[in-house]
């Protein structure tokens, strides 16, 4: 699944400008580096998103997931 800069920004909860900054800092790699307009693989955006999750948020989600697994 291929995303535009705006779609990647919506996924990450950032502005398109911030996404371009992430590309400059090589925190997010576009499908063809240097090509305009930028296009991203959904899984690359998901990886970047996973790196941005804070430890507290991850722990909170883990706790809910544990509870969810116990119910199943």
């Amino acid at each position: 699944m291929i995303l535009t800069t705006s779609e990647a920004a919506a996924e990450l909860g950032l502005s398109p400008f911030a996404v371009r900054k992430m590309v400059e800092r090589e925190e997010l790699v576009p499908i063809i580096p240097g090509a305009k307009p930028l296009r991203f693989h959904l899984l690359d955006v998901a990886d970047a998103q996973a790196r941005r999750v804070s430890k507290a948020d991850a722990a909170r989600l883990d706790a809910i997931a544990e509870e969810w697994r116990a119910l199943g």
Partner: protein, 254 residues
């Protein structure tokens, strides 16, 4: 999951395809920060985990259609492209008073892919044959091992037969490697004769395993799958997960 003589002792067998749980690590994991998860996923359906089982069921369901699509791309089977029907009177002669299908008089067979070159055509035929061979081999094993009645030698019938006996099939010792091989064959077939499955993104809901918001629902499937870690859950379990997230969000807001 295998229960032995001691009822209190349940051994969790790992998935035969070597699937792992995202962000869960074995005690011996050397680098938990770099590792995406190395704890094996439990085999819930025979020797396969739930995600592999769902993928396998899906592949068996579409295998027959994929073979037909490959044959159409190769030009062996395809729609007839009708030319405009003539209004001229056709005299009864050897061409029109035989038992042949009249449609073919006005039509010519065309390749579904007009640009299919000979190597691609041959690759399509090989790929279709590979799928049929794989399905037939499983059917032979099923029929011999469980004394079942042979299905028709048609890819659709073979797929349906295997779906009916999927429980026995998934208990085969070599199913992990066989499914892996079948997935490779189906992937090659898909690249030769592509088709697109409808995918509905489930925006904003994190995966319970890897926390990425890459949950999707494939068309015709009631299950929710994570594109990143390949974890799958039923729609009922997904409903429960979203309710729990919403409750947590409400608590945090209050």
């Amino acid at each position: 999951m295998t229960e032995y003589d001691a009822p209190h002792r349940i051994e969790h067998a790992p998935c035969a395809r070597g699937c792992t749980v995202a962000r869960r690590h074995l005690a011996a994991c050397p680098d938990q920060d770099a590792c995406r998860g190395c704890q094996p996923r439990t085999a819930e359906n025979g020797n396969l985990c739930y995600s592999c089982h769902r993928r396998f069921v899906n592949l068996l369901g579409v295998a027959g259609g994929q073979v037909m699509l490959l044959e159409a791309t190769a030009g062996d089977r395809g729609e007839y492209e009708l030319t405009s029907l003539t209004t001229a009177r056709i005299r009864t002669m050897w061409r029109t008073d035989t038992t042949q299908d009249f449609r073919t008089l006005y039509a010519r067979a065309v390749n579904a892919s007009h640009t299919a070159t000979e190597p691609i055509r041959l690759a399509c035929l090989d790929s279709a044959q590979e799928i049929v061979d794989r399905l037939s081999l499983w059917v032979v094993h099923m029929v011999n091992d469980h004394r079942l009645v042979d299905p028709e030698a048609d890819p659709l019938a073979l797929g349906s037969f295997l779906l009916r006996h999927i429980v026995n099939l998934e208990h085969r010792a070599a199913i992990g490697d066989e499914v892996e091989e079948f997935m490779t064959v189906m992937s090659q077939a898909h690249s030769l004769a592509p088709w697109r499955e409808q995918v509905a993104r489930l925006h904003g809901i994190p995966c319970p395993e890897c926390h990425a918001t890459t949950l999707v629902m494939f068309g015709g499937d009631s299950d929710v799958t994570c594109l990143r870690c390949k974890a799958a859950m039923s729609s009922a379990r997904y409903g429960l997960w979203t309710r729990m997230l919403a409750d947590e969000h409400r608590k945090a807001g209050a």
